[in-house]
């Protein structure tokens, strides 16, 4: 029973990682006042870029860089449409999602002829698990052993990066000049402008930060958790990350807890597949898959406190002409 629980937690960590990376990505963007519904598309683009380059070069690091490059480019496109040209941020984000879904499948098929997938990655093209020292020796110790060996040890480097990004994001947001300005520009861009700071450049930096983290998230899917890119492999994770961001009220630590919760639900769903619960019977997988959205709706309806977004989120900044 305890072993089972540890295994579920272990897969919770693995399943939460891409959500967490994408959620933190969205946090940078939305805290700056740029709503990003295109997390999904950026992740997908990054997964493809990472998968393709890692296959060709047999180097996971180059794959990661390629994923980041694709994702940042898509982010800059979003920025160009919604920051420079003050377009509707939702429309721009949706466009990026379509663009990524179509382009990855098309390019994948043209380049690799495997139905849009990238071929299985060669040796070195994938981030392997990092085994912590003495994991094998400690494994036998009850309680602590499995927790150390399964839960903490033996994940790939992107998992650790994702969880380290949480305190880092908090620190950037609340302890640095960039963070102060980022939060300010999402609340009242006019205040930032009159303080002599460029609203445009600040928001572009936020969008780039968002792109980098989405790049990590995408690369994780194709060259760390998986062993190659598959068509539409994000499967709505970008939207769940967005729901998690709202659920977490745009705060880094809450984002981590929310993503862990959503990942846990996913892990339980997989675990429960085909299993009967005494007195309840078999619970459909869809029930667990729907839970993150249901929880978010309940939150938005005001049952679990109130989720107040950054005040200027979604509103293009225009100097008023008086």
């Amino acid at each position: 029973m305890f072993e089972d629980f540890i295994l579920i937690l272990d897969s919770t960590v693995r399943l939460s990682t891409p959500l967490l990376l994408a959620c933190l990505a969205g946090l940078y963007s939305e805290r700056s006042g740029v709503v990003d519904i295109g997390l999904e598309g950026k992740m997908l683009g990054a997964a493809f870029g990472a998968g393709a380059v890692a296959y060709i070069t047999a180097n996971a690091w180059l794959g990661l860089l390629a994923g980041i490059a694709v994702s940042v480019s898509l982010g800059l496109l979003h920025g160009f449409a919604s920051i420079s040209n003050r377009g509707n941020q939702i429309v721009s984000g949706v466009a990026i999602n379509f663009l990524a879904a179509g382009l990855t499948a098309l390019l994948g098929q043209t380049w690799f002829r495997q139905g849009g997938r990238t071929p299985a990655l060669p040796e070195g093209g994938r981030f392997g698990d990092i085994v912590w020292p003495f994991a094998e020796q400690i494994r036998e110790i009850p309680i602590i052993g499995p927790i150390y060996a399964e839960l903490f040890s033996s994940h790939n480097i992107l998992v650790y990066a994702a969880f380290l990004a949480v305190p880092l994001t908090w620190w950037i947001l609340f302890r640095t000049r960039f963070g102060l300005r980022l939060r300010a520009v999402g609340e009242n861009p006019a205040a930032v402008d009159t303080a002599g700071i460029s609203v445009t450049w600040l928001r572009y930096r936020a969008v780039i930060a968002c792109g980098i983290l989405c790049g990590f998230a995408g690369a994780y899917l194709s060259i760390a958790q998986g062993a190659g890119f598959g068509v539409n492999m994000t499967a709505g994770k970008g939207f769940i990350a967005l729901a998690a961001l709202i659920f977490a009220k745009w705060r880094p630590a809450s984002a981590m807890l929310t993503c862990l919760l959503f990942g846990f639900l996913d892990a339980v769903a997989i675990r429960m597949q085909g299993q009967e619960l005494p007195g309840v019977g078999e619970i459909p997988v869809q029930f667990f898959q729907a839970l993150p959205y249901v929880l978010t709706v309940i939150l938005l309806a005001g049952f679990i406190g109130k989720a107040i977004p950054p005040k200027a989120a979604g509103i293009p900044y225009l100097k008023e002409r008086s």
């Binding site: 000049r177 300005r181 609340e187 930032v192 009159t194 303080a195 002599g196 008086s322």
Partner: protein, 517 residues
């Protein structure tokens, strides 16, 4: 007198498309003085100051700061030259602390800690030097507007501003808060700072400035020493003709009540009681003014009576008919049918549809009236004739009913709304902020028209945050504070007395202690 001026502007020009907002503006501001710039809305004051603060670039012209010719490409450059600005709409981040707002943009280094520590001690010093007391850890959203403005001033001083521009600073303040602000400005002046005060309020100019420059339609028409001028002269310069600052009216002859409100309570969407157990009456032939600082329940009171907002409890008697507002489902159209006209506070949001033509707007809300329709269709010829009549009677310019109301000036837009409501000849007229954003000439006209209506035996309920307007028009004044009517005064109430009431202090009950922040 041969001292270098703090600011000198030469032949500044700025156009927005076809609008020539600033024409050949010359201005000299003496160091260590309080220099007022007065003009009507749209005279170009704010544009000029925005150029000085680097928000806009002048098309032509030279700027000298401390005798040096400069270009000001952005606000950052203006700040570096020691120019600080307190905007009409505060440039603060509501969910930040005072300290965070002060350091924003002047953080010293990549990490915040150092900057915050320095700001904390610097704020302490400024507090002692200028008596600008404010808790550095308070959140902006928890502070009253008077203190928020203080934070704006502190922001400028923290950036070592030598020249401080204040754009319509008293619009959101109670008279007591405004007085306090003037004291602060005096202290700043004594410390050698230069203050530029932009306003459309003559009283403020007379009270505080050393020199005053008058702008009219994008031009600088005069610069005079304040002690050598008068309100009448300045008003004439602003408008370009002589204007009557006082409203000429004979004493009211109130008759039977036409509207009685009892125990009205209104709760807003957040569940907060915004109008608390309010009772009053309006008689035929009188103007009842409701004074109060913006946000003390006046707007909600007006909207409830107009049928736009629903009440929790309360009874309204109008023209002899009794309506239980707590249960009634009457909407704005029903209230109009009961001979109640409504000039809403915000003409852009509720009074007009600015993308519609003037004639369409002239029947808005009365479009169901059979007089304006032929069967299912609108009777355009009648509607347009009506619009032309109103344009003539109210001197609405340009006199073109086919023009979209967006193309009319604030004063003329307001006249369109007033004409529409008054010409339906209601027994009771609800009027909110009738002269907000309206030039002096139109104010004079609107005030006269309201008094005429009163003399014709109608009842008028006037809500205004302009104390001068309340005092000029009202036959009785009710003061609202925190959702309640806290006092009633007669036609010639003292300004100071009303001001204290507006801050919730009743002088009659002698509870003055410490005053207001």
């Amino acid at each position: 007198m041969s001292e270098t001026p703090a600011i000198e502007l030469r032949k500044i020009n700025k156009s927005f498309g076809p609008v020539h907002a600033n024409k050949d503006i010359d201005l000299v501001v003496k160091k260590g003085s309080i220099h007022g710039i007065i003009g009507e809305n749209g005279a170009g004051k704010s544009t000029l100051m925005s150029i000085l603060y680097g928000f806009y670039q002048a098309d032509k012209g030279d700027i000298f700061v401390d005798g040096q010719k400069v270009t000001i490409p952005d606000s950052k450059a203006a700040i570096a030259m020691g120019i600080g600005m307190v905007h009409q709409h505060f440039m603060l981040v509501d969910n930040f602390s005072v300290l965070e707002n002060v350091v924003l943009g002047a953080e010293d280094s990549q990490l915040l800690a150092g900057g915050l520590t320095r700001a904390r001690s610097e704020l302490k010093r400024l507090e002692d030097e200028y008596e600008l007391r404010v808790d550095p850890d308070a959140l902006i959203e928890d502070l009253p507007v008077g203190l928020q403005q203080r934070v704006e001033i502190l922001k400028a001083l923290y950036r070592s501003a030598e020249i401080l521009i204040l754009d319509e600073p008293t619009g959101v303040l109670t008279p007591a808060e405004a007085d306090h602000l003037f004291k602060i400005l005096e202290v700043l002046k004594n410390e050698g700072k230069t203050v530029l005060l932009i306003t459309h309020k003559l009283r403020e100019i007379m009270a505080i400035t050393d020199t005053v420059s008058v702008m009219r339609r994008g031009e600088m028409v005069a610069t005079v020493e304040t002690e050598h001028t008068s309100m009448e002269q300045l008003a004439e310069l602003m408008v370009g003709r002589s204007v009557l600052l006082r409203v000429d009216k004979k004493p009211a002859e109130p008759q039977a009540p036409v509207m009685e409100v009892s125990n009205l309570t209104v709760t807003d969407s957040r569940g907060v009681q915004v109008v608390k157990d309010v009772s009053f009456e309006v008689r035929a032939g009188e103007i009842v003014g409701i004074a109060g600082v913006s946000g003390n329940g006046q707007s909600e009171l007006l909207e409830t009576l107009a049928g736009i907002r629903s009440a929790t409890t309360g009874v309204l008697k109008i023209n002899g008919e009794t309506i239980d507002l707590g249960t009634s489902t009457l909407d704005a159209a029903d209230m109009r049918d009961k001979s109640m006209g409504h000039v809403p506070e915000d003409r852009h949001r509720m009074g007009l549809i600015n993308s519609f033509t003037e004639y369409e707007n002239s029947i808005l809300g009365y479009h169901r009236d059979p007089a304006y329709s032929k069967g299912l269709l609108m009777d355009l010829s009648v509607i347009k004739k009506n619009a032309v009549d109103e344009i003539e009677k109210y001197d609405i310019r340009p006199p073109n009913p086919m023009l979209k109301t967006a193309n009319f000036s604030g004063g003329n837009q307001q006249k369109i709304v007033l004409a529409r409501e008054i010409e339906r000849d209601p027994e009771v007229l609800l009027v909110g902020q009738p002269t907000r954003g309206v030039d002096i000439g139109a104010i004079e006209f609107i005030h006269r028209r309201l008094v005429e209506m009163r003399d014709a035996g109608k009842g008028i309920l006037l809500v205004s945050v302009e104390l001068d307007e309340i005092r000029a028009l009202s036959d009785r004044v009710l003061v609202m504070f925190d959702g309640r009517i806290v006092g009633e005064r007669g036609a010639n109430a003292e300004e100071g007395d009303l001001g204290l009431l507006m801050a919730g202090v009743d002088t009659n009950s002698k509870s003055l202690e410490g005053g207001v922040q």
